[in-house]
């Protein structure tokens, strides 16, 4: 049973690989129906699958592929011209074949999955429609029996000829002696089987000519019989199929790529080990730096230096090498699109040409697996909404055939996949209108939206610009999926569009996920690592450049308005130190959104290995994992997608300091204004209180400078002005004023001196220490009230 499973696995892997190639070949075939080489290749795929499946007793699959083979065989011999209608049937049967293979993969049996009878009938119609002569039938029957031997050779009717060109393709150089023995025996067996089958066929042909479709079940039974002889066969067949495949692609039979299949788990393990090595290397470099500082000029340092640089160099090379083993060409994903475009253009009655370039660009296997779905959605969208109908295109003076471009290329540590179309483009006004209609955005939001932001609307869930929901798209799900998947890969989406000219969508995706470059940032005493893939740029701004729009902090970055969030608000960092006048903003981009993250300091760029936080701490919002730094400490890695989500709801404190400065909120009545009165004399305080009573301003009293400073620091009150006596015990008015001015947030707090000192020198000292007004005792109550009101913009 295990052996069967093993064979089955090989069969499935091989079949899926063959079919992938098949789709592309078939579409090419439609444009060049007389390409014999191509036809032969396609025929061989159907044939190989049939042979193997009959050996494994998958009767339904065998039945289907057999009839496919018939049609293809006729085409190959020039008895049938492939036209679009026939191609439709062939493609349908290829789809069925895929379906069956999936069923086999999931259930190890091909029954109960797809119903092939309809398709088989159509295939027969194709085969017979152009060549109904009964004389052909016996040949087919003969082929059928002959093929029971599961080889990749061609049927015996022309087997002799084709065998010669098929078999030598196999590269025996990497076979062991035993394998060659087995191979020779197999070939001998094949020959015997074929002879036997031919004899049988001659006898069988007589009765079976009449009832062609019924041939199947009877043939399937003998299929099982040669099995014991052919048991070693599939094991040999797998490498053989591989060996011949590159030949078929390049049509140059010489260079054979030598490959081995490796379990992905082993590669993952290797990658993990490399990760550990990278951490070790980081640590070593850190220690080397420390040692260098301490023992400067000593001889052994140079040696140490050399070793460290060699280790670090080799580690980097090793890491790249292992990464490369996991790389697959993106062509693996691109391959399915020609077929998709063909089907879509027929369905939508449009003429669309797909131009693929850069399919040899490589990226990590895990990413290749994730990128397929988003691309399908984007291309469907381009076909359905982008490219116009033939009439529309002609009317606007464009060529009948629309062009969709699919291009991949490397850009630094990223791969960029660009999807372009020359269709009608995205109309921002229309996008906004639709979004308002569907309640996705408000009219106000729409007005303040830039073009780029408007393009981003197509990624909102529930959005669809199609007036009608078609079979192809318009359910408003697809593009949302694109966004989520790209975000998962830490990728960035960039849309450009011009009405009438077309749309271009760029997906920028990091090459690998396990070991990444990160930007280390500091907030208070903590450090966080941000994946560099998501960092667009960093800017240093002064606090004045932060504006508040609808209670959100924003800044102007060149032409754009960027919303801001403080990393401390996201990660609940206690703010002990006073922030300086300047802040660093890390501009993060993910999918199509951007946000500015305010941090206290930028530490630098480092290569980090992502480690999980374990079961106990998994799923912490905003944290993607942890990494170990050169000093042995743990640094958390920011999950940029989650952070952007959190930024929408998190309570911002960026501007609270700014608010403190001005007033601490809206003033709705006179008593919202607060003034501190600092004077050591109770009488003087009472006089001030009496003078200001009529205004209704709230007063807080302090007996001296120290007292005043404590009240201020406690943060219980937001003062709009302070009245300060100069001569006081413990701390005088001048000292108090200069102390207060040391705090950034009190820079704008008006300090008013109320004193009996009238000398010029005293006034000067007052100005130097930061007082804005100087009132001399005695004063009239109205004068005092007016000065206070003026200094705090009293509105009542």
């Amino acid at each position: 049973m295990d052996e069967f499973q093993e064979i089955l696995q090989d069969f499935l892997i091989e079949s899926f690989e063959l079919i992938e190639q098949l789709d592309q070949d078939l579409v090419t075939l439609e444009t060049t129906p007389e390409d014999l080489e191509l036809l032969n290749r396609i025929f061989r795929v159907a044939h190989t699958v049939k042979g193997a499946s009959s050996f494994l007793n998958f009767d339904v699959l065998t039945h289907l592929t057999h009839h496919m083979e018939d049609v293809l065989n006729k085409a190959r011999h020039g008895n049938l011209v492939i036209n679009p209608d026939i191609m439709d049937v062939i493609l349908e049967s290829v789809d069925l074949m895929k379906g069956l293979l999936v069923t086999i993969r999931d259930t190890s049996a091909d029954t109960g999955g797809e119903d092939v009878s309809g398709c088989v009938a159509r295939l027969d119609a194709c085969a017979n429609g152009t060549n109904p002569s009964k004389a052909e039938a016996p040949v087919a029957a003969v082929e059928e029996i002959a093929d029971v031997t599961p080889t990749t050779s061609t049927p015996n009717a022309d087997g002799e000829v084709l065998r010669v060109e098929d078999e030598p393709d196999v590269d025996y150089s990497d076979y062991s002696d035993d394998d060659i023995e087995a191979e020779i025996e197999r070939l001998l067996n094949n020959r015997q089987e074929e002879d036997k089958a031919r004899r049988d066929a001659k006898i069988a042909a007589g009765e079976e000519v009449e009832s062609f479709p019924e041939v199947e079940p009877e043939v399937a039974t003998p299929a099982a019989e040669p099995a014991p002889v052919a048991v070693p066969e599939p094991v040999v067949a797998a490498p053989k199929a591989e060996a011949t495949k590159p030949d078929a692609k390049k049509a140059a039979p010489a260079a054979v790529e030598q490959t081995i299949r490796v379990d992905v788990k082993r590669l993952d393990h290797l990658m993990n080990l490399i990760g550990e090595l990278v951490l070790g290397k980081n640590r070593l470099i850190k220690i080397n730096d420390d040692v260098e500082e301490r023992y400067e000029g000593e001889e052994f340092l140079e040696e140490l230096n050399q070793v460290v640089s060699i280790v670090s160099l080799v580690t980097t090379d090793l890491q790249i090498a292992v990464m490369k083993t996991r790389m697959l060409p993106i062509g693996k994903v691109f391959n399915k699109f020609p077929r998709m475009i063909r089907d879509l253009s027929r369905e939508l009655n449009k003429k669309i040409d797909l131009q693929i370039s850069g399919e040899e660009t490589e990226l990590d296997k895990s990413i290749v697996e994730e990128i397929g779905d988003p691309l399908v959605h984007i291309i469907r969208n381009s076909c359905d909404h982008g490219v116009e109908s033939i009439d529309d295109r002609v009317a606007t003076g464009k060529p009948e055939t629309g062009v969709i471009g699919l291009k991949a290329y490397n850009e630094g540590n990223h791969i960029v996949i660009q999807i372009t179309d020359d269709g009608k483009g995205l109309d921002t006004d229309m996008l906004k209108m639709k979004s308002i209609e569907k309640g996705i955005i408000t009219e106000k939001e729409a007005d303040s939206m830039s073009d780029k932001e408007a393009f981003g609307l197509i990624f909102r869930p529930g959005f669809s610009t199609a007036a009608q929901v078609t079979n192809v798209s318009g359910r408003g799900v697809g593009m949302d999926v694109v966004k989520t998947n790209i975000e998962k890969l830490n990728g960035i989406i960039d849309i450009d569009s011009e009405v009438g000219k077309g749309t271009s969508m760029k997906l920028k995706i990091p090459l690998t996920l396990a070991i990444i470059q990160a930007l280390l940032v500091g907030v208070q005493e903590e450090y966080y690592a941000i994946p560099l893939a998501s960092v667009l740029e960093t800017v240093r701004i002064s606090k004045d450049e932060i504006y508040t729009v609808e209670s959100r902090s924003v800044m102007r970055l060149r032409e754009e308005v960027l919303s801001l969030v403080h990393i401390g608000d996201i990660f609940e960092v206690e703010r002990v130190f006073d922030a300086s006048e300047h802040a660093y903003v890390v501009v993060l981009g993910l999918a199509e959104t951007k946000i500015g993250l305010i941090v206290d300091s930028l530490v630098g760029q480092e290569e980090i290995v992502i480690k999980s936080l374990g079961e106990y701490l998994k799923g912490i919002e905003g944290i993607a994992g942890a990494t170990i730094r050169g000093d042995g400490g743990v640094t958390l890695i920011v999950d940029v997608a989650a952070l952007m989500h959190m930024a929408k709801t998190v309570k911002s404190t960026i501007n609270s300091q700014v608010e403190n400065k001005s007033s601490g909120g809206e003033k709705t009545q006179a008593s919202d204004y607060k003034v501190m009165v600092v004077d050591d004399s109770k009488t003087d305080r009472t006089i001030i209180r009496k003078s200001l009573e009529s205004t209704g301003i709230t007063l807080v009293e302090a007996a001296d400078g120290v007292d005043a400073l404590n009240i201020l620091k406690s943060g219980d009150h937001h003062f709009d002005a302070m009245l300060i006596d100069i001569e006081m015990p413990r701390m005088d008015g001048y000292t108090l004023a200069s102390e207060i001015n040391k705090y950034n947030k009190y820079k704008n707090l008006p300090l008013i001196a109320v004193t009996s000192r009238t000398g010029k020198a005293d006034r000067m000292r007052g100005v130097e220490s930061g007082m804005v007004e100087y009132i001399t005792k005695p004063y009239s109550p109205e004068y005092l009230a007016n000065v206070v009101k003026r200094n705090m913009n009293f509105k009542f």
Binding site: G614, Y616, V634, L636
Partner: protein
């Protein structure tokens, strides 16, 4: 003389026999103090005991989760048992230790005030947890009685279970 020797040998054999038969019934525990109480966990669930090292705070967690620390290349959560048991936080002293415990799927470090000793208890001397504590939520496996003292045995699975 030979009788005496025989006696001694017999005695030894008896003792050995007793130990052999008892080995299945003996539970080895490691005792430690958190606050004013002595607790213990089975020695087999302890991976190692280390002196306090630096850790990194993890946001959005309860206060008793101090953060994560690096144990020879593995990132491990650190939990303060004082705060987990509802006591106030305390600065680490020379006696403070991290006990790294693990079960099948999870490993975590626990901060304790100080270690006491390794304890060998006969299974007979372990009683059930007091009835007043709801069975499912209880972190207490049982109560061990030894001469003049009582030792609370904790459920390691429960300690390692995320409850936020």
């Amino acid at each position: 003389m030979s009788d005496k020797l025989q006696n001694i040998i017999n005695n030894q054999q008896q003792q050995n026999g007793v130990e052999h038969s008892d080995i299945d019934n003996i539970v080895q525990l490691v005792g430690f103090i958190v606050g004013d109480e002595e607790f213990s966990v089975p020695i087999l669930s302890i991976q190692e005991i280390i002196k306090p090292i630096e850790w990194t705070r993890v946001p959005q967690t309860p206060t008793y989760v101090l953060g994560v620390f690096n144990l020879r290349g593995t990132v491990i959560p650190l939990i303060d048992l004082r705060q987990k048991f509802g006591l106030s936080a305390k600065n680490h002293t020379d006696e403070t230790r991290f006990i790294v415990m693990r079960n099948d799927e999870e490993t975590a470090g626990f901060v304790i005030d100080n270690l006491t000793e390794a304890i060998r208890l006969n299974k007979r001397d372990i009683g059930a947890a007091p009835d007043t504590i709801a069975e499912a939520e209880s972190m207490i496996e049982g109560v061990g009685k030894q001469k003049d003292r009582i030792i609370t045995i904790l459920k390691v699975d429960k300690l390692l279970e995320r409850d936020f």
